[in-house]
Symmetry: C2
Subunit: 205 residues, 2 copies
């Protein structure tokens, strides 16, 4: 999309634009499927600049991945300890995040890339499992990992695969079930705040 006239010289801003565009592209497709020329076209800049701004395609990818996922840190995502709140998280995005890039899609689409796996593994451990495990009673690590894994699977089904049985129409059926799942992991029993089938409920005391 180089239109002929030169763009204003602002190295810092251009670098940021490149990083954002790269993250978006890598999130839409995979590492191998996105070309530097695509990113350059998005920013409106020459390919050579994209390359030189971050040294290599791989370095750009690593920085984009780290940058896009970290601000979405699960610390806030997991600041709740209610199964119902976690279930809501399965359907809604973080409101207070600039949602230019879906970090989950970026992670999923990056799994096939050679160098990305260790990075993703580290991010999952430090940003998702770690913070949650600290505030859960034993076995905290297992609970946190399981919550993250289930949330991951649900979001992939919903947002990446777009499984039709998981669209918004199914939400009334699904959200209570999901709340029960997380509540079971957290507290060892389904969500008490609702009663789908009273005969299955434990007596209050």
């Amino acid at each position: 999309m180089t239109t002929g006239e030169r763009r204003p010289r602002d190295g810092r801003a251009t670098r940021d634009l490149i990083l954002t565009a790269a993250a978006r592209r890598f999130a839409q497709r995979s590492y191998e499927a996105t070309g530097l020329r695509d990113i350059a076209c998005d920013v409106g800049v020459d390919v050579a600049l994209v390359h030189r701004a971050y040294g290599s395609k791989e370095k750009l990818f690593v920085e984009a991945l780290a940058h896009a996922v970290r601000p979405a840190s699960a610390v806030e995502m997991f600041s709740t300890e209610s199964g119902a709140d976690l279930a809501r998280r399965a359907f809604e995005d973080d409101p207070e995040r600039e949602t230019v890039v879906d970090p989950l899609a970026l992670m999923v689409h990056s799994i096939a890339s050679p160098g990305a796996l260790p990075l993703i593994r580290r991010i999952v451990a430090s940003e998702f499992i770690g913070p949650l495990a600290e505030r859960l009673e034993a076995p905290g690590a297992a609970k946190a990992t399981l919550i993250a894994a289930c949330l991951f699977g649900i979001r992939i089904f919903r947002d990446v695969l777009e499984v039709e049985a998981m669209n918004d129409d199914a939400r009334p059926d699904l959200e209570p079930l999901i709340a029960d799942v997380f509540s079971t992991i957290l507290f060892g029993r389904p969500d008490r705040s609702r009663s789908s089938d009273p005969t299955n409920e434990c007596p209050a005391a």
Copy 2:
């Protein structure tokens, strides 16, 4: 790996070899990251043959995906209705399946590919969710979808991402939790066959 001497002429067998090798390659990396020359090398055949045997790379990919996932049909995987059995499935592979290709890894690594998404969506619906939903009481579709999604997330964490908090050492902590999750989805309450904390258990009658 063309060694000079010609290979015995058996079109049917060679086609099968190509398909298997393709599925394995696509499962290890992504669609874009694997080349026809890699597959040809595995089989010990010329690139042109690989191409012509299935018309194009994309057609080969589609056939490999469909072939690798369908035999692993979840009909048997979901022939159980016990949360504990499903939890075991989260850790163990189908014993009665020739485990040349991990269909899950193939699906995950194919998500980024342009043409693969509708196919994967269809496979998930017809092979995983559909069969299970039939034998569950309402809301069967929601329950089946949620089970598939959680199983998907758990297996990705374990086998693809290889999250360390999910390796075999963690199995004693994890498996009961997972059993509770599936039991909660299936029956609305945690697994009755164990008692982690008796005070949380429902009375038998």
